[in-house]
């Protein structure tokens, strides 16, 4: 019975018609990586998408395989930091944060500070760093906002920082000033009964 299930699961990757866009040699190597990742409990879909991105962009086979292997490794690192209960979107966002320069310990701190899902918080952290905000500053800001800020607040914060940067503000200063001045509403603020004055915005 178990053998039957394992065989069926293996066939899923082999029979995935999307991978037929790869040349046979590359496809064989990619399927091997995907199968190994799946056996390790990692999500396979990001790996398949990375391979499809490569073939659509006309990349050579070895480059596609290297990209898929690197992503599998990073997904494993992200899961080690975020825990075995992390979802596929969280792991993908975790990989983005890691590649932006955040250390695994930052991901672990974020997991402890914020209730899941962590996808948006991790993505905002990655986006802030790729926008030029120093990784230490971005990590500190996101960790400070993590316990109470809503996903939409984090997105708005990132957009505000990126607007300031596009207008010429230094990235680090833009993030720090916005962190001090932006009134990120906490989840408890949304529960203020009608007619009562809103509580002051939460500050990190």
């Amino acid at each position: 019975m178990i053998l039957t299930v394992l065989l069926l699961m293996t066939q899923v990757a082999v029979q995935d018609p999307r991978l037929e866009r790869l040349d046979p040699e590359t496809r064989s190597l990619v399927v091997s990586v995907v199968d190994s990742a799946r056996a390790a409990g990692l999500p396979s879909e990001p790996l398949i998408q990375r391979a499809l991105e490569g073939v659509t962009k006309g990349a050579q086979g070895p480059r596609i395989v290297a990209a898929v292997r690197r992503l599998a490794t990073d997904l494993g690192t992200a899961r080690g930091a975020l825990g075995s209960g992390a979802t596929a979107p969280e792991l993908e966002a975790g990989v983005a944060a890691l590649r932006a320069g955040a250390g695994p310990q930052v991901l672990t701190q974020l997991r402890e500070a914020r209730r899941p899902p962590l996808t948006m918080a991790l993505a905002v952290l990655a986006d802030l760093v790729t926008s030029g905000v120093p990784v230490d500053s971005a990590s500190a800001i996101v960790l400070a906002f993590a316990p109470t800020a809503r996903d939409a607040d984090l997105v708005e914060f990132r957009r505000a920082v990126e607007r300031d940067i596009s207008l010429g503000a230094p990235p680090g200063a833009a993030a720090s000033v916005r962190a001090l001045n932006t009134g990120i509403r906490s989840t408890t603020d949304a529960a203020v009964p009608p007619g009562q004055p809103p509580r002051p915005p939460s500050r990190p």
Binding site: I48, R70, A100, S131, A152
Partner: protein
């Protein structure tokens, strides 16, 4: 009170000690009924309940895999929200949106133009997606209104969009 209980017990004991008469033909009638039954239940039940189990389980797993189609991404599942992608490209003759949400297939999300503004709408489930615009079938462009994917490993620009749990 105790005397009354003793009397009741004595009556029960007397009743139980009376001889019981059984019809001598009872055994023959029972055996005749069993022989006349067309379905031998005693032997068929264990065979039916045990042997098909592996096949039923395998069929269930196969059916679940086929129905769930794990090779398709969650964007096609329920809980997704529609997001519009826009690129201003007045000189372009064609623009395609490709990304993690459509298997990087230029034919999956065609963009329509109105005076050089190309747009299309795609349903996205919560997650983080990489994408790019393919202009005239040869030129790759990132989305100027979205964060760049700085970890592009294929030498072309890409963007990222993150959809939160509430569709934000």
């Amino acid at each position: 009170m105790f005397d009354r209980d003793d009397e009741l017990v004595d009556r029960v004991v007397r009743q139980l000690r009376q001889p019981v008469s059984i019809d001598p033909a009872l055994d023959d009638r029972v055996m005749a009924e069993i022989a006349a039954d067309p379905a031998p239940r005693a032997t068929s039940r264990p065979r039916f309940s045990l042997r098909p189990w592996p096949w039923l389980a395998a069929a269930a797993v196969l059916g679940a895999i086929i129905i769930a189609r794990p090779w398709t991404r969650g964007a096609e599942n329920s809980g997704s929200n529609a997001f519009q992608f826009v690129l201003v490209a007045p000189q372009a003759s064609s623009v395609a949106l490709v990304g993690d949400f459509n298997d990087w297939d230029p034919a999956r999300s065609p963009m329509r133009t109105a005076q050089g503004v190309w747009a299309t709408t795609v349903p996205l489930a919560p997650g983080r997606y990489r994408y790019a615009f393919l202009v005239n079938g040869v030129e790759w462009r990132a989305d100027p209104g979205a964060p760049d994917a700085h970890d592009d490993e294929f030498g072309t620009p890409s963007s990222v969009i993150t959809v939160g749990g509430n569709g934000s």
